[in-house]
């Protein structure tokens, strides 16, 4: 269906009409552009800029002293670690699910169920998710009751209230997000390529090694970075489970709303800048990798 629609679109358009269509398309992008500017661009710039000023509006670099604090350093590493682990596990698990789904009919009931469940679970977060996990894995949760029942009282200590304990919680929305974003790339693998490899005497392994993985790699890495960012910026779930800090998003909350350590609210801005820098480094590395892959592809 899609390939038919695409080929028809490409065949019919004359150059003049295509030019007109670009003009219309440009107008179509305006609402999204304005939205992104108002709700993403401007707030991000304001947040980061606040890191360079005192609360009275004078320019300062003192807010960056927070990076000398061992707690901040530990929390940045904690955030990067948690995001990397949940992104990699989420990406691999999600890709395996996609691979399994590929062999099923795209309009079959299993695909429909997994698709719609993924779009629900990928958005399921915040305090609701935290409470769902407390009910399952908390000290008085289902798992605790079973383990304490088997091995005696007080043998179970819930891992939930530590940074590593967030891994299973985050995977709950990371894996479905991977399924949602990676499935289209998987679907783009043409069966004909597999047949071509077979005709030339290649095995299934040759196909994946020489064709499947190289074709999917950019999309896979892109999705992994999306997962990383998703986890890196998560706040509400962590805040409901961990009250004593350990992540950079919790530090931003603490700095900007503290009732006890007053006068450091703008440190939140410098912490936000650190998050932006981490994402820029990651995106640049991805871009470089992408360009290399493209060069390799053209050869």
């Amino acid at each position: 269906m899609t390939s038919l629609a695409q080929s028809r679109g490409a065949g019919v358009g004359t150059p003049r009409r295509r030019g007109a269509r670009i003009g219309v398309g440009w107008i179509g992008v305006v609402p999204f552009g304005a939205y992104a500017l108002l709700f993403l661009g401007i707030p991000a710039v304001l947040a980061v800029a606040s890191g360079f000023f005192t609360e009275n509006g004078a320019f300062t670099l003192a807010n960056f002293d927070t990076f000398a604090n061992p707690t901040t350093q530990k929390d940045i590493i904690g955030s990067i670690g948690l995001s990397a682990v949940t992104a990699v596990i989420g990406a691999i698990a999600g890709a395996i699910i996609c691979y399994a789904l590929l062999s099923m009919r795209s309009d079959g009931w299993i695909r429909t169920i997994v698709d719609s469940a993924s779009s629900v679970f990928a958005q399921f977060g915040g305090v609701m998710l935290a409470f769902a996990f407390i009910a399952t894995m908390g000290n008085t949760g289902l798992l605790g009751i079973i383990i304490n029942g088997l091995f005696g009282d007080n043998t179970y200590t819930s891992p939930l209230y530590t940074v590593p304990g967030l891994v299973p919680v985050y995977l709950f929305f990371q894996i479905p997000l991977m399924v949602l974003t990676f499935m289209p790339a998987m679907e783009a693998l043409k069966p004909a390529w597999g047949e071509a490899v077979a005709t030339l005497g290649g095995t299934r392994r040759t196909y994946w090694w020489r064709v499947g993985i190289p074709v999917l790699a950019p999309a896979f890495l892109g999705c992994t970075i999306l997962l990383f960012a998703n986890s890196f910026s998560s706040f509400a779930t962590a805040a409901a489970l961990i009250s004593q800090g350990g992540l950079i998003s919790l530090d931003i909350f603490r700095a900007s709303t503290s009732e006890t350590v007053v006068g450091h609210a703008n440190e939140a801005g410098s912490l936000a800048l650190a998050m932006v820098v981490v994402m820029i480094v990651l995106m640049s590395a991805y871009g470089a990798l992408q360009r290399r892959a493209a060069k390799w592809g053209n050869r």
């Binding site: 604090n69 061992p70 707690t71 530990k74 409470f131 407390i134 009910a135 908390g138 000290n139 008085t140 949760g141 007080n154 200590t157 819930s158 939930l160 209230y161 530590t162 805040a239 409901a240 489970l241 961990i242 009250s243 004593q244 800090g245 919790l250 909350f253 603490r254 900007s256 709303t257 503290s258 009732e259 006890t260 350590v261 007053v262 006068g263 609210a265």
Partner: protein, 384 residues
């Protein structure tokens, strides 16, 4: 665009108020003392006399029709009932309760970011440390019962005044811990594994800082030296008893946080008093020795969009009926001493809650700053 539109609306509103003001003075011969003020005048009113008495204040507040309060959780110090009571007493005024679970810093942020808008908070219930940094946001006002508030409980100019204090208390599930809690060190015992939670990070939340200070007082420290409190929580962590999750009414009801060190009014509010949403076995103990409290302050936003309703709310809070509502939740109201003298205190409630301890301390601004500095340096390592 938006600001210009808002400015236009404000000018129109001011003009409308001024017009009705003319109409009011022209038409009302009988109620001569009642005055109708413009928005700017009402924002500067320092007592009920500026409105020509209570009737004038009520009329002005009714005309505004709204009151914006902020960071008042319904289960905190009986605010649920207090808000309902106000809406019942003054049915013409609708209360918008914004960000109930926010912090004092959130109150200030909302007042600054929504300045000049109709949604800005009218009144504050605010912690001292944050308030002292933002005194320019507050409009002086003196409630009618001003003399009943002790002198050291209020600013001489009426910029702020105490409302209530809780006492740092230990709430626990009496079904899980039938032996109860007699002293702080009981919590280090092996039966309290994964059990003890405080209300957040002490470098962020005043209530958590107060839990550490209370522990310091119990362990031989003082308001000038909270190090023994930090040491206590380190021992609690090493014993495997410290629970680093954020306790909420729901986690107390489900049993996930079976011991919570927090203000007495919250422990009382999460127990049987909360009905089906509370934990029926929840008990509250204030340990013997020096009681630790922390008075919160009432204050009015200098740019309050509903200045008359804000002032009426303050008058309402300092009526004996509402002061008794605070008391019923375990929050000792600022006028308690005067009410005991005048006989307006609800004696059955006082008997149930227990009188305020004679040996009572709270952190001064300097002590709080010192404690915060120490916590910033030591806390994360102690419980890490």
């Amino acid at each position: 665009m938006k600001t210009r539109y808002l400015a236009g609306a404000a000018v129109l509103a001011a003009a409308a108020l001024a017009l009705t003001a003319c109409a009011g003075t022209a038409g009302s011969g009988s109620s001569g003392s009642t005055k109708t003020l413009t928005l700017a005048q009402a924002q500067k009113a320092t007592s009920v006399a500026d409105f020509g008495g209570m009737a004038g204040l009520v009329a002005a507040a009714n005309k505004e029709g709204h009151l914006n309060v902020i960071t008042l959780p319904p289960s905190w110090a009986n605010y649920g009932q207090i808000i309902q009571g106000f809406e019942k007493k003054y049915p013409g005024i609708k209360i918008n309760s914004e960000n109930p679970d926010g912090s004092s810093a959130d109150e200030v942020a909302a007042a600054k970011s929504q300045k000049g808008q109709s949604t800005a908070p009218d009144v504050f219930d605010i912690g001292t440390a944050v308030m002292n940094q933002n005194l320019d946001l507050l409009a002086p006002y003196k409630v009618q019962s001003w003399k009943d508030i002790p002198d050291d409980f209020k600013d001489a100019d009426g910029t702020w005044w105490y409302d209530y204090t809780g006492l740092m208390s230990i709430g626990y599930d009496s079904k899980k811990f039938p032996k109860g809690i007699k002293k702080l060190d009981d919590l280090l015992g092996s039966d309290f594994k994964n059990a003890v939670a405080i209300k957040g990070d002490p470098t962020q939340a005043n209530e958590a800082l107060s839990a550490v200070t209370m522990a310091a007082l119990q362990e031989g420290g003082s308001v000038d030296n909270i190090q023994p409190g930090i040491d206590f929580f380190q021992k609690l962590k090493q014993a495997g008893n410290f629970l680093s999750t954020l306790p909420k009414q729901a986690t107390v009801a489900s049993g996930e946080t079976p011991v919570v060190i927090q203000w007495s009014f919250n422990n009382v509010g999460w127990g049987p008093a909360a009905g089906s949403a509370g934990n029926p076995n929840w008990k509250t103990v204030v340990l013997p020795g020096t009681g630790l409290g922390s008075y919160y302050n009432q204050a009015i936003n200098v740019d309050a969009p509903n200045p008359a309703a804000a002032r009426l709310w303050e008058e309402y809070l300092y009526t004996p009926a509402v002061q008794n509502l605070y008391l019923a939740a375990g929050a000792y109201p600022a006028q308690l001493a005067a009410m005991k003298k005048a006989g307006t205190v609800d004696k059955s409630v006082l008997a149930k809650v227990g009188d305020a301890p004679s040996d009572f301390v709270q952190l001064s601004a300097d002590q709080a700053a010192k404690a915060s500095t120490l916590l910033t340096a030591k806390w994360a390592a102690a419980i890490g």
